[in-house]
């Protein structure tokens, strides 16, 4: 079970995000449909192009897992209601870890 994902309007800028199946690392779709583990490289999609991109991602479920729409601004910054969650997904926990305090 994952958290509830907001339904985005067709005109809302969005990207496709998922997890790399082998490593579990978070990935985002580039404009050319390939996958990147760097959120600065994510592609921005709207309307039918976004639906096509998601459909394409869903055919790649060997390489990646559970693709879904993530809201972004027109210039590719994380946006919308899930900004905090998606920022943590992109940047890691907001607390240091693996260290002795």
């Amino acid at each position: 079970m994952t958290s509830v994902r907001p339904k985005l309007k067709p005109e809302t800028p969005k990207t496709i995000t998922a997890w790399d199946t082998a490593s579990g690392q978070v990935v985002w779709m580039r404009a050319d449909g390939s996958w990147s583990d760097d959120p600065t490289e994510l592609g921005v999609f709207t309307g039918a192009a976004a639906e096509d991109a998601l459909a394409k991602a869903q055919t790649q479920e060997g390489e990646i897992t559970d693709p879904y729409f993530m809201e972004v601004t027109a210039d590719g910054q994380i946006a919308g209601r899930e900004t905090l969650r998606e920022s943590i997904r992109a940047n890691g926990p907001t607390v240091p870890y693996g260290v002795i305090i």
Partner: protein, 553 residues
């Protein structure tokens, strides 16, 4: 400690081999996530916010140095140098790659460990009192019965697909440290006319609809325990709801059926079972399991230790830690040590690989090779001689493991929250850290005395907020983190669900609100020995609510 026999070893090995094949098929694309998900969950593998998470079972929280060193190796070589202790006395790794998990499971199998039944709608790890076998206040050691329940419930074909997950806890001490009344089944060991049996509580739980368990039996004799458990499970399996996952736990069945009718159904099933298919665990088997938990060879010691007294006089920090983090042992000259994994502004419940190695070394050298993980996300060395205590303390201190706060306000149960968890609505760890900073002065914390704060990042209540004396629940308000505070919860023998105080607060308001609650308690207590929860129960919640919300206005 229980040791695997040839059957245990074989089934665990076969499970690793099977999962290796399943992972290979997933990685090659032969099976997709929808098909793979139930398989990975059966092996403790979740997909969390950033990565896969592997939950490893630690039966009733007991480890030895060999197991702890293996957990350290996995943290170092397959994760990012740490592991997280959970409220089911298990350990979780947050960054392990799926491709590596079969190798990790093989490592675990080498030390008689696995991740089976740490997820899914089955009977999960049986938990117990972390001082079991050591504490003065138990009538007997509950671990042999935890082990018997573990063996009965592992791969039990009838209970592999329950309506929902199922959790059992056992205690044998009058003071309940295992939170049995907020478990699906809670077993309290009792003695009657020289015979040992179980008081049975059913239908406790937390999550979105918290319930305190109903007592369905005063005394089930040892020899009949598995029959009785099986009767409860059968009633649940038959009548538990499968149409709505939020109503599928046994607590809902007990609540909707009514305690009297539920008990009647269990008794009816139990009677029928006793007639036809009694489990009748042979006494020789019960004795065999008990033998694994024989007390270690304690030395004949005086109840006091000159070395300990000298060290306390010379080192005030050690003296303070000794007053807070020790628990009375049943054998003179020994004590149980709580190693707090709650350093101020640290990562609640996390231990680095280096810290795990230190704990393994101390257990092996000074502690009869016994280690426990507690449901409050700490670690216990149950059997340390008072003569060795200062040496142990100094090694703990050098490893950042000597925080003196056991059961005090900075020793919080904190779920991973939105920093890790896919289900969370809000972060838990940073809120806990900010609260800790308010109470970082050891003298202030000691003056407050025992007080449990529990924090959950969502309504699933993994941080046990419902049963915290002060409970904090993270909620999402249009993408913003808010926190609901509740008062008066407790997980012990007087278990109660906390009451929500009022409107949720912004994260930066929470530490101040907690301080207001605590200072109100200090003003209202009759004397410094009256605990927070006792004052709260004596005066009611209103003065605390007024203090918090008047201060906010």
């Amino acid at each position: 400690m229980y040791r695997y026999d040839q059957f245990d070893a074989q089934i665990v090995k076969e499970r690793v081999d099977q999962f290796r094949g399943q992972v290979a098929r997933r990685l090659s694309g032969d099976i997709l996530e929808d098909e793979f998900k139930p398989l990975r969950l059966q092996n403790g593998v979740y997909l969390q916010l950033h990565a896969y998470m592997l939950r490893v079972a630690i039966p009733y929280g007991q480890l030895d140095s060999r197991k702890m060193r293996k957990l350290a190796l996995i943290a170092r070589d397959y994760d990012r140098g740490y592991g997280h202790m959970t409220t089911r006395q298990n350990i979780q790794y947050n960054w392990v790659a799926l491709k590596d998990i079969p190798d990790v499971l093989e490592h675990l199998a080498e030390v008689e460990m696995h991740a089976i039944q740490t997820s899914g709608n089955c009977i999960r790890n049986t938990t117990s009192d972390h001082f079991a076998g050591a504490t003065k206040d138990e009538i007997m050691d509950p671990r042999p019965w935890c082990e018997i329940i573990r063996q009965w419930s592992t791969f039990h074909p009838e209970f592999a697909f329950l309506p929902r997950k199922f959790k059992i806890a056992v205690t044998a001490a009058e003071h309940d440290r295992a939170a049995i009344r907020v478990h699906d089944i809670g077993l309290h060991m009792r003695e009657r006319d020289g015979e040992v049996g179980f008081e049975v509580h059913v239908g406790g739980g937390q999550g979105r609809t918290p319930h305190i368990a109903a007592k369905v039996a005063d005394f089930v004799p040892e020899a009949e325990l598995l029959d009785y458990l099986e009767a409860i499970m059968r009633v649940y399996n038959r009548f538990g709801r499968r149409d709505n996952k939020y109503k599928a736990r046994i607590k809902i069945l007990v609540s909707e059926t009514g305690e009297t009718e539920f008990t009647r159904l269990v008794e009816e099933e139990y009677a029928a079972q006793r007639e036809t298919e009694k489990i009748a665990l042979p006494q020789a088997e019960i004795d065999r399991i008990h033998a694994y938990f024989a007390p270690p060879a304690f030395a004949d010691k005086s109840a006091t230790s000159e070395a300990f007294e000298r060290a306390k006089a010379a080192d005030p920090k050690f003296a303070n830690w000794s007053e807070v983090n020790l628990h009375p042992h049943k054998v003179p000259g020994y004590t149980s040590v709580t190693i707090s994994l709650k350093p101020i502004a640290g990562l609640a419940g996390d231990a680095t690989d280096a810290q795990m190695m230190v704990m393994a070394h101390l257990a092996e050298t000074y502690g009869f090779d016994d280690i426990r993980v507690t449901h409050a996300q700490n670690v216990v060395l149950p059997h340390i001689a008072l003569d060795d205590l200062y040496t142990v303390y100094r090694e703990l201190d050098a490893a950042g493991l000597a925080t003196a706060n056991e059961s005090h306000i900075t020793d919080m149960i904190v779920c991973p929250g939105l920093d890790y968890c896919n289900l969370a609505n809000a972060r838990s760890i940073p809120v806990g850290q900010e609260i800790q900073k308010v109470f970082a002065d050891p003298a202030y914390e000691r003056d407050i005395g025992k007080l449990h704060i529990n924090i959950s990042g969502c309504i699933n209540a993994c941080g046990h907020h419902h049963v915290g004396h002060i409970g904090i629940l993270g909620v999402d308000r249009k993408g913003e983190e808010f926190y609901q505070i509740s008062l008066g919860g407790r997980a012990d023998e007087k278990a109660a669900i906390g009451d929500i105080m009022g409107k949720a607060l912004a994260s930066d308001e929470v530490p101040g609100a907690v301080k207001t609650i605590v200072d109100t308690y200090r003003d209202l207590r009759t004397n410094p020995d009256e605990k927070f929860i006792d004052t709260l129960e004596r005066v009611g919640h209103d003065p605390f609510k007024e203090a918090v919300y008047n201060a906010a206005d």
